[in-house]
Symmetry: C3
Subunit: 341 residues, 3 copies
Amino acid sequence: MADPRFFVADGPFTLARLAEVAGAKLSAGADPARQLRDVAPLDEAGTDDVSFLDNKRYLEALKASRAGAVILHPDHADAAPDGAALLLTETPYKAYALVAQLFYPATEGVPGIHPAAVVDSSARLASDCRVGPGAVIGSGVEIGAGGRVEANAVIGDNAVIGARCRIGAGASLSHCLVGDDVVIHPGVRIGQEGFGFASDETGHTKVPQLGRVVIGDRVEIGANSTIDRGSGPDTVIGAGCMIDNLVQIGHNVKLGPGCVVVAQVGIAGSTKLGKGVVLGGQVGIAGHLNIGDGAQIAAFAGVMRDMPGGEAYAGAPAVPVKQAFRQVAALARLANKKSDT
Amino acid sequence: MADPRFFVADGPFTLARLAEVAGAKLSAGADPARQLRDVAPLDEAGTDDVSFLDNKRYLEALKASRAGAVILHPDHADAAPDGAALLLTETPYKAYALVAQLFYPATEGVPGIHPAAVVDSSARLASDCRVGPGAVIGSGVEIGAGGRVEANAVIGDNAVIGARCRIGAGASLSHCLVGDDVVIHPGVRIGQEGFGFASDETGHTKVPQLGRVVIGDRVEIGANSTIDRGSGPDTVIGAGCMIDNLVQIGHNVKLGPGCVVVAQVGIAGSTKLGKGVVLGGQVGIAGHLNIGDGAQIAAFAGVMRDMPGGEAYAGAPAVPVKQAFRQVAALARLANKKSDT
Amino acid sequence: MADPRFFVADGPFTLARLAEVAGAKLSAGADPARQLRDVAPLDEAGTDDVSFLDNKRYLEALKASRAGAVILHPDHADAAPDGAALLLTETPYKAYALVAQLFYPATEGVPGIHPAAVVDSSARLASDCRVGPGAVIGSGVEIGAGGRVEANAVIGDNAVIGARCRIGAGASLSHCLVGDDVVIHPGVRIGQEGFGFASDETGHTKVPQLGRVVIGDRVEIGANSTIDRGSGPDTVIGAGCMIDNLVQIGHNVKLGPGCVVVAQVGIAGSTKLGKGVVLGGQVGIAGHLNIGDGAQIAAFAGVMRDMPGGEAYAGAPAVPVKQAFRQVAALARLANKKSDT
């Protein structure tokens, strides 16, 4: 069960309620009135807990689990331990997400501005915002209903932040328009000048960076990631994008809606991603490129040219994933030959 | 035009003035007294705006642009739209930089120390410095004329910062000597202990890190980058270096003047870069290496040995760029053969 | 010598004392009563300084050094300059570490909570803790003896921190249990939600992240690194691990004791490292993998599958290091052929 130092569970809830929330079917013989008290991983769950199986790597943990109920795909029902009630669904991870949200709804906290925060008198914050100690909110800033600015975060002059956003501890934002339900994790840097200068033998002449960062609704940005403002055009993060930790997004980059960007990815200036593009960890993408809708780029890849949508790519320089596999295999064979003549 | 929430344009300026500032020649028939009110990207510019073309990828945008004036290379003059006055120059990007600086000079702000800053009484700040709320300035710190320390930045004891420097929100500096006209972006970490320890079967014994970080004039360091202090020798960033976001610079590294280091580069301890070295995004360089003057290392490369100056390199392990291209091509051919026997 | 702006040396100490502390043998003819005043690099040391040689790259600097004493391996004694007393040891780097610690013991500072810190009344801090200006310590937090929380760091509600820990400027911690003698460098982010969501055509459904970060004794975590809390299981950093700057550690990752993780490494969710694993700079490791005890993974590698312990690996995808070298050599030969038919 989750450590009560840090988490407080709602509940208990009946199996029937869980099945309803999860959009799952109860297995034959399961008692709909049975009460569950918490969620837990397969290897830690007890008879009062509901757990889940999403990744086949954990089938052994399923077999050995003492969980009172398990959310899983019907194909894996046979591997479940005898005592467990089953919540059967084609999408067990999403079903678990919904059940876990039921037990652990987002905490609300008490609205108010901490006396050690510094909020400019011209800033307009909805009355139910929470602002932590040491947070600094500049002139002309707007923050919508339910906003939360954590300790020591800094919001630059005239930034606009929608409803129900969370700005993490020590983050800094400037020159940005942020939608609703956005989560900015601790240490994120948004809106600073991009890396723009003209170089010649006299040195580097800085180019004023005159754009903004525009962030859609329901975006999440991971800890210590950096998003530079545009140089003239805006830098744009589409609605519903999920961005992990330590990601770099250069000036003028556009992300279509629903992209997934895993940790330590770097996207150079003026590159455009379509809808639902997925970038694996540590991927790098050169500047001024177009990556099509639904393209998937495997971890560690380095992308040097435009990539059509709907395909998977890997390698550095990145190529279609089948070709990348062939290259890896061919090189392994070549290296293992006694002689290469 | 730039969003007036965040930017206020000077001007208007005549074409003649812009040509003078840009070091550009007016095209035949352009009226030197014509007034321009702002800069804007080709696809957003109107008849009162001046735009620019630097990258051939945007020739189509040039043709369709409604810009009142365009800064561009004479070779592209024919592609410009009929209505536009042309500012012709061999270096359009630098010319644009100078024009944009004219419209958007660095804002000065009002000098003063915010009452919510914490400045040690022994610190010596020039009288025209600006210190934001929550900034912490330690004992013995010196900051030169025109210095600006943004909200919640932390300057450790005895650090020395030259004239006209900007220290971004939430950055932290210690054990450093910083030159004039340096820009430190938000979240940068300078001067913490390097990664030094002696390992044996009893564990890791820490080596005291007794050097400093010495930063030359006109250096710029991107958001959330990290520069460790030396272990005994100093870590040195030469004058005029441009360093992007999320870059890691290990202890004792030396960068010659004018280097360009793109985002997410890592330079391991005690490596030395000559003058004007350019490192593409995500490049990694192993420790104790020498990279010669003017070397250019392509994005994603991994450098494992010394690299003579004046050449371009790519790949991991990095090799001269022509050799890297041959390797990529050879591997692609090999993988595409029906059989590799 | 170290810059007295930033460092104050103890001493002087006799050669006899240094030999004892270093576990080294004095060379014949060296005067045990000779006094040394400081440590210094070979090329900067004077006759009152003790220096060291650990890396053969610096043999020339040894020959030219004016150091009064040098710590080095007996095999290199012949290369030492005539005037220098030698401290002979099989482990010169560790010996130097111990001598440097003698000259530069960790500074203690004056206990106390700065009036500009914000410490919740329910937090329990040992009486000799130091809390800097702007630091924010939440409700129910516990910090052990000798703890030090630097300026503008943020400790979330109910976090537990052991004895003699240092939390760097601007770092943020939440949902974590931290052991004794841990060093968290500036800007580190610990305990934020991991990157967990279930995706389908309706978008990304967030999975509540209900685990913690558990950090063992004597761990060090470099500047601006990020460690997400577990999703249900904990994220665990074993005792004595050394983690460099800008490292990303995903939810549920486990590091065994004594691992070394160089800068910009990324470890994806649920991967497990054994004891004493070493990861070079910029290494990436995919999720749900097992890396065995003592495995060593070279800089820039990308690990896509389980790796048995006790071996060295390189490349992307990573393979045993000998195989990686053969691949590099084979590709170089292939690319250099006039024709590849």
